[in-house]
Amino acid sequence: MKGYDRGIIAATILLCLFGVIMVFSASSIYALKEYGTKYYFVRKQVLYLIVGLVAGGIVATADIDRVRKYSKVLFGLALFSMVLVFVPHLGVVVSGSHRWIRIGQFSIQPSEFAKPVLILFIADLIDVKARRNSGPVPVFVPLLYTVPLLFLMIREPDFGSAAITAGVVFAILFLAGAGLAPLAAAGLSGIAAGVVLVVRSTYRFNRIRAFLNPLRHAHTGAFQIVQSAIAYGAGGLTGVGLGNSFEKLFYLPEAHTDFIFSVIAEELGFLGVAAVIGVFIYLITKAFAVAARAESLFTKATVYGLALLIAMQVIINIAVTLGLLPTKGLTVPFISYGGSSLVAQLISVGILLNLAKRVNEGSDEADYSRWG
């Protein structure tokens, strides 16, 4: 434990344990009705948490440079596994989405792992490039690598993940010092592509329409948004009390995954919401502070990218439950039910801790010699 950032560890574990409690609260009645035991989901979540903590611990203590050396291989693996979800019998199709591959008793969602792997890969790429020539930060090469991943995500379809991934890559390039003109050009073409995709896809288009006019589509996509708003409103300042949510009784769909924050809002009120967001802000601020002090571009971009990934997921998810954004299918890091996301996020925190330790010990600079 020595040398590791205790604040990050404490915040992460606090959020995870709180997540277990909220998953239990939000899923118990649904689980009882569907699976005959109210512990169905929470039992699995605890198992995922243990796996995630072990994996994160291993990553935190590993030699990050060796991991970095294999970042190309890891990225290749990530792309490959994203293809596997479309292979019949191997890929699991849930209500039309190809997001999972089945391995034995468990389903794995490769895109959750692909996101941190992509950050590592891009950070390594620009770091190496920056050192080989002191010219402008490349924009198109990293984006070229990112596009196939985005394409696969959209094909799943998982538009939310694709948007966040694109956003994080842009933010990393921006940080690294890319010129604003090429960034803007690439960004605008990306947005144009996004608009075309939305209009061409009926389900996405309907979600947007529902978002714009909830009451008119009360029986389709907007139902969730209306119910979520009711959950927030019913919660008030202090909430209806832990376990007392009414919305989770089959009003709110996916109460233990995408809409778990609505249940938090209903049961714990504004004070609970503010406290949870406070812990997230603390965690992200800690990570940004590490990034600010980092000497190497690799460390800086990785820590910053991972922190940004977490921050964007939190903000977008909560914004969806508040009706500020159309529904996305994104989970709240550390809190929502889901094995792949929890394990991937705990591995991300492991990387954060590993790099933070290096920065705090002042050994980050030493890496230049190896790559220089």
């Binding site: 927030y232 409103g233 009784l249 919401v273 967001i277 997230f280 571009l297 800086k300 914004a319």
Partner: protein, 668 residues
């Protein structure tokens, strides 16, 4: 170095810009959360409250129907009903395929329902909960379930015509279910409840007190075991004889309590839709029959009670051929010369009965028959009771006074005949037939139904004299000799009534209603029983078909009721069972599976063999020697659980105690 530092500072600025963006994002969501939760909170809380609470109408659980010892005859159980909201269903054909496969419905018919332009259609009601759960596992959007009550009759066809059945909304459509529907059904009530997103009520705090809202339980006077004995025997007889219908009633003569009432054909009320409407009639109270010779005892009782004749008085019976006006009255058995009232009954002489009728005269006969209850409903708590036909004297034809005494030109329901015979059995009192013993409200209030005595019809002395004559019918030479029992004295009368052709008004030559109406034991009757077999293809005479059935049924019912028999096996202990006892055991055990054989008097080996034959798996043997007692009672219906047989040399206790135990077993 300077360049590196500049780049570093440049990156710090950009890092800070992004950080500010992130914090702004958080600020936006916290503000919106604050707005929704704190500023607009009340309004949303109000919407929430309105959304969750529903005023719903709850149909209370229908009360159970029980036999006199509380055994369940009919009961309501919660099952699932599947409904759909077609407007919520996106992929209707796929949903229809799954729903129709799981529920076993036609795919096209299901699809039609799912495409209806409504927000609520029943897909299938009263579904087995396992099947409903299987369907709901598919999570089909727009397909849901509600809990409803389904009526369940555990013994299927047993007492079906008496109990009746209910429709899909649990309203009684026939039988007791109909006549006591107001009690059984309970009152639907409205309640404001919280419902979950599937519209199912959520009972978080105060659950609705369902028990106090359920319908009343109805306790009948029926004894399920006796009903089972009678129904099984009668059903078999109707089949064996190729008859069209069969009716059996067993009544306690002092109280009028109906212990068993059977109409064949019967049906399974659990699946009543599979049966033709015609079988739902409870013919024991709804149909009327010309009674034929079983009517003679009432006419002769009237003549005796009115003092018109004496028991010893003899009548000339015209040697079997008596012409009155345009008709000829015949005696089936041949040419009788002089017969008194007793022998007229014993040989069932129509001419003798006509002569007695003539002596009594129309006005008095009419008055007595009215007193016996003919021509008026008995008032039993069952729907559709017929009053029968007893014309007023001024409408009688010239021959009515000659034909009514042997049961032609008059018609009666089976329940009227039993009730009238009960008056002879109990010393002259007409009781009201009683089918309901108690009505138990859910709160604990119990409404008892006391026996109702309508009036005195004949004097105790007349009843006694008549009983003696009816015993004669079952003695050697009488028409009812095949109803004679070992150990019990039977009093009764056979009947073989011709069936009139409704088109011509004449009697069919070869179609009869064969019957036996009697009571037993004659001196202190426990039961009055009517057996009626309508239109048997073989053995048309009441003495041939109905009388043996009376004997068989009474032979099982009386030991079950614990009526002491004159032929007491216990009183004659011997080291080995007699041949007669062995025969009795075998006769009892081979006839009915599902009925506990009468083991008493048999050796252990015999008991083991007979128990196996009867399908008894859990047999407990106590002691050795010969069987002296058993539990359950002989002829009780056997379901599950141990059958205990106690033998003469019981290991525990001395002889004195054994006798006491035996007595308990016998008396039940």
């Amino acid at each position: 170095m300077n360049a590196v530092k500049r780049i570093h500072e440049h990156q710090l600025v950009r890092l800070f810009i992004v950080y500010v963006c992130i914090i702004s994002g958080f600020a936006v969501i916290v503000s919106k959360a604050f707005y929704l939760e704190v500023i607009r909170g009340r309004r949303y809380a109000e919407i929430a409250r309105r959304q969750y609470s529903r005023e719903i109408t709850l149909i209370p659980a229908r009360g159970a129907i029980l036999d006199r010892d509380g055994r369940i005859l009919a009961q309501s159980v919660l099952v699932d009903s599947i409904y759909a909201d077609p407007l919520l269903i996106a992929n209707k054909s796929r949903t229809a395929v799954i729903v129709s496969r799981v529920l076993g419905l036609g795919a096209d018919e299901t699809l039609t329902k799912l495409t209806a332009d409504r927000q609520f259609v029943w897909i299938k009601r009263l579904v087995d909960p396992d099947i409903a759960r299987k369907l709901l596992r598919y999570h089909l959007k727009g397909v849901y379930s509600l809990r409803e009550y389904r009526r369940f009759y555990p013994d299927k066809s047993i007492a079906s015509n008496l109990l009746g059945f209910v429709d899909v909304d649990s309203r009684g459509l026939s039988g007791i279910e109909l006549s006591l529907d107001n009690y059984l059904h309970g009152n639907p009530f409205s309640a404001v409840v919280d419902v979950d997103g599937h519209n199912s009520p959520v009972y978080a705090g105060d659950p609705i007190n369902g028990t106090s809202m359920s319908g009343d339980n109805v306790v009948t006077t029926i004894d399920l075991n006796i009903q089972f004995i009678l129904e099984t025997a009668l059903k078999k007889a109707v089949t064996d004889l190729g008859a069209s219908k069969g009716i059996g009633i067993i009544m306690a003569p002092k109280t009028g309590a109906i212990l068993a009432m059977v109409s064949i054909p019967d049906f399974n009320p659990n699946v009543y839709r599979k049966f033709p409407v015609s079988v739902f009639k409870d013919i024991a109270v709804e149909n009327t029959y010309e009674p034929g010779s079983i009517f003679k005892p009432f006419v002769i009782s009237a003549a005796l009670d009115a003092g018109a004749i004496t028991p010893k008085e003899e009548f000339f019976c015209e040697h079997g051929h008596y012409k009155v006006y345009n008709i000829v009255i015949r005696d089936a058995e041949g040419d009788y010369d002089m017969l008194n009232a007793g022998t007229i009954l014993k040989y069932s002489s129509n001419i003798g009965a006509a002569k007695i009728g003539e002596k009594l005269g129309p006005t008095t006969l009419y008055r007595y028959l009215k007193e016996f209850g003919f021509g008026s409903p008995t008032g039993i708590d069952l729907p559709g009771e017929s009053p029968g036909i007893l014309n007023r004297v001024d409408r009688w034809s010239g021959v009515s006074i000659d034909t009514i005494p042997f049961g032609q030109g008059v018609s009666a329901t089976p329940i009227q005949l039993v009730t009238a015979m009960a008056a002879i059995a109990n010393g002259g009192l007409l009781v009201m037939p009683q089918i309901i013993k108690e009505i138990r409200a859910p709160g604990g209030n119990v409404m008892h139904f006391s026996p109702v005595i309508r009036r005195r019809v004949i004097s105790p002395q007349t009843a006694k004299t008549m009983t003696g004559m009816l015993v004669g019918v079952v003695n050697d030479g009488g028409t009812g000799v095949r109803a004679r029992m070992d150990g019990y004295t039977v009093a009764g009368k056979t009947g073989t009534a011709q069936i009139p052709d409704p088109k011509t008004g004449r009697y069919y030559k070869n179609r009869f209603v064969s019957s036996f109406l009697g009571f037993v034991p004659a001196n202190a009757p426990s039961i009055v029983m009517l057996i009626m077999i309508v239109d048997p293809k073989t053995d048309p005479y009441g003495g041939q078909s109905a009388a043996p059935l009376f004997k068989d049924v009474a032979g099982k019912v009386l030991p079950y009721l614990g009526v002491p028999s004159g032929l007491n096996i216990m009183a004659t202990p011997s080291s080995e069972p007699s041949v007669a006892d062995m025969a009795q055991v075998q006769a009892a055990s081979v006839t009915q599976t599902g009925i506990v054989p009468d083991f008493r008097g048999a050796s252990i080996r015999t008991v083991l063999r007979e128990a196996k034959k009867a399908g008894i798996e859990d047999l407990v043997i106590r002691g050795s020697g010969y069987a002296v007692g058993q539990s359950p009672q002989p002829y009780a219906r056997y379901a599950h659980g141990p059958v205990i047989v106690v033998f003469s040399d019981s290991v525990s206790g001395n002889g004195q105690e054994q006798r006491g135990h035996r007595a308990d077993v016998i008396k039940g």
